[in-house]
């Protein structure tokens, strides 16, 4: 028992695990930021009336929501080279995760955009705003409040999904933990060390999410939807 604790502690402070955790964090943040950008573009495109644009958007959503992320990761890593596109494991992983995430973020943004009614938009137009200005100054700031809580949840989901890129040999937390254990069969210790890192990072995300939500909470009566982390933090405080 004592021996296990010592080993876990040594894993936690090892350069290998620390580097792997850094890789997991980098994968998560890069994929998420790119995914949010893709999602926003897709959500804005969906507002367009153009049939072709809408059809392309539907095709994208259908493909990326209808197939496993794991397949998407392996596909981008192994099939794109056939077309002369050579990407590192990290880049392939980020692209696959981001494209997948974009399909879900689009839906989140869409519900945010729809939460701002036509009359508010009209008020913007009546002040002499152009379409993009109405979006920028009237719709998006209000949509943000609806969008932030589920986005935080997606961030945490991404942290866990990033473990999937271990299949294309990206040295992230789970792969390193697994490799370490397969050398000495101390699965309990190495997986526990990995779990501790994951928990530290999810907790960190929750705190950041909380800060951002506070910043956007300008009104008091109109409660934004409560996120999981908000409830969690409230519980720990009580």
């Amino acid at each position: 028992m004592n021996d296990s604790v010592t080993l876990i502690l040594s894993y936690l402070s090892s350069a290998n695990f620390l580097r792997a955790a850094g890789m997991t964090l980098a994968l998560t943040v890069c994929s998420m930021l790119l995914g949010m950008l893709i999602g926003l573009i897709v959500a804005l495109l969906q507002e367009r009336r153009n049939r072709l644009v809408r059809a392309l958007v539907m095709l994208y959503l259908w493909l990326f929501r209808g197939t496993p992320v794991l397949l998407q990761i392996i596909f981008i890593f192994n099939v794109l080279p056939n077309f002369g596109i050579l990407l590192s494991g990290f880049t392939s992983g980020v692209i696959a995760l981001a494209l997948n995430e974009g399909a879900y973020m689009a839906e989140i943004y869409r519900s945010g955009l729809q939460s701002v009614g036509a009359r508010q938009r009209t008020a913007g137009y009546a002040l002499g705003m152009r379409g993009w200005q109405v979006m920028r100054y009237v719709v998006l700031p209000q949509a943000m409040k609806v969008v932030i809580p589920p986005t935080g949840n997606q961030f945490m989901g991404m942290l866990k999904n990033s473990a999937l890129v271990s299949v294309i040999a990206v040295e992230e937390l789970l792969l390193v933990a697994d490799q370490t254990a397969s050398a000495n069969f101390r699965y309990l210790e190495s997986l526990t060390a990995a779990a501790v890192y994951y928990l530290i990072m999810t907790t960190l995300f929750m705190l950041i999410q909380q800060l951002i939500e506070q910043r956007f909470k300008t009104q008091r009566s109109q409660e934004a939807p409560r996120s999981w982390s908000q409830r969690f933090l409230r519980m720990t405080r009580a």
Binding site: R119, T122, A123, Y125, L127, G128, M129, K145, T218
Partner: protein
């Protein structure tokens, strides 16, 4: 009293349908510089639609909308609708303040972001406008903290901040509790007295009597009556108008 009449906004033979339902039929309305035009009529007669057409918020089937001597209903002009809208402010039944911005930021948003007015100058002006609509102490409040009457006065200040040539009011007091109607009408009356060109859709006949230079009565998408205020309320009117007036005044 009336000297030369300069037309600021002139609507001619305006036709507008929603689907195959005609909502405005050959409407002619003329808004003179510095005057207040009140539009009355039963629900569904097309009053809001007419205001939205004036502001190019609705496409039209046919007709001419002349603003400051220029036809703004042409496809080319429509592409720059935002330009004209900066000079035609609108006040809505449900205020439509931006809930994510404080009162002062609601008023400053368009001047600063759309017109490029320096912030300090826009703030100064916003504070003056709040003074003018008689809520100088609410600059830093959030819209939701205000009563309906206060919100509507902020909406008027927000509209005035763009220094429009004409103000379009669509039933600005219809969503208000009775005790707040007066404070909004007082502000509007003052604007009218100061020579702000206004088009006001309202059911407040006392306001029409006091502030309007002309009154238009609409029914079923048509202009039934278009008379100077004293004639509208005192003189010979068509039976359809009489019927409406009798209903609303008793």
């Amino acid at each position: 009293m009336k000297t030369d009449t300069v037309s600021l906004l002139d609507i001619q033979r305006l036709n507008k349908s929603f689907g195959d339902k005609p909502v405005l039929k050959n409407v002619d309305v003329n808004v003179e510089q510095g005057k207040t035009l009140v539009i009355v009529g039963p629900s569904g007669s097309g009053k809001s639609t007419l205001l939205r057409c004036m502001n190019l918020l609705e496409p039209i089937e046919s007709g001419v909308i002349t603003f400051e001597g220029r036809d703004i209903a042409t496809p080319e002009a429509r592409r720059e609708a935002w330009r004209f809208r900066q000079e035609m402010a609108m006040v809505f039944q449900h205020f439509e303040l931006f809930p994510h911005l404080s009162v002062i930021d609601n008023i400053m948003l368009a001047p600063v972001k759309i017109k490029g007015v320096p912030k300090a100058q826009a703030r100064q002006k916003a504070l003056e406008l709040l003074e003018r609509v008689r809520i100088p102490d609410k600059a830093n409040a959030w819209p939701e903290e205000l009563s309906g009457g206060q919100q509507q006065r902020v909406a008027i200040a927000r509209a005035l901040a763009m220094e429009p040539r004409v103000m379009l009011f669509d039933e600005p007091t219809s969503a208000l509790d009775p005790e707040m109607i007066k404070e909004v009408l007082d502000v509007m009356t003052e604007l009218s007295d100061q020579g702000m060109t206004s088009v006001v859709v309202t059911h407040e006949m006392s306001f029409a009597r006091r502030a309007a230079h002309r009154v238009v009565f609409m029914a079923d998408g048509e202009v039934v009556e278009n008379l100077p205020t004293d004639q509208f309320f005192g003189g010979e009117v068509k039976p359809r108008t009489r019927q409406f007036l009798d209903q609303i005044l008793h």
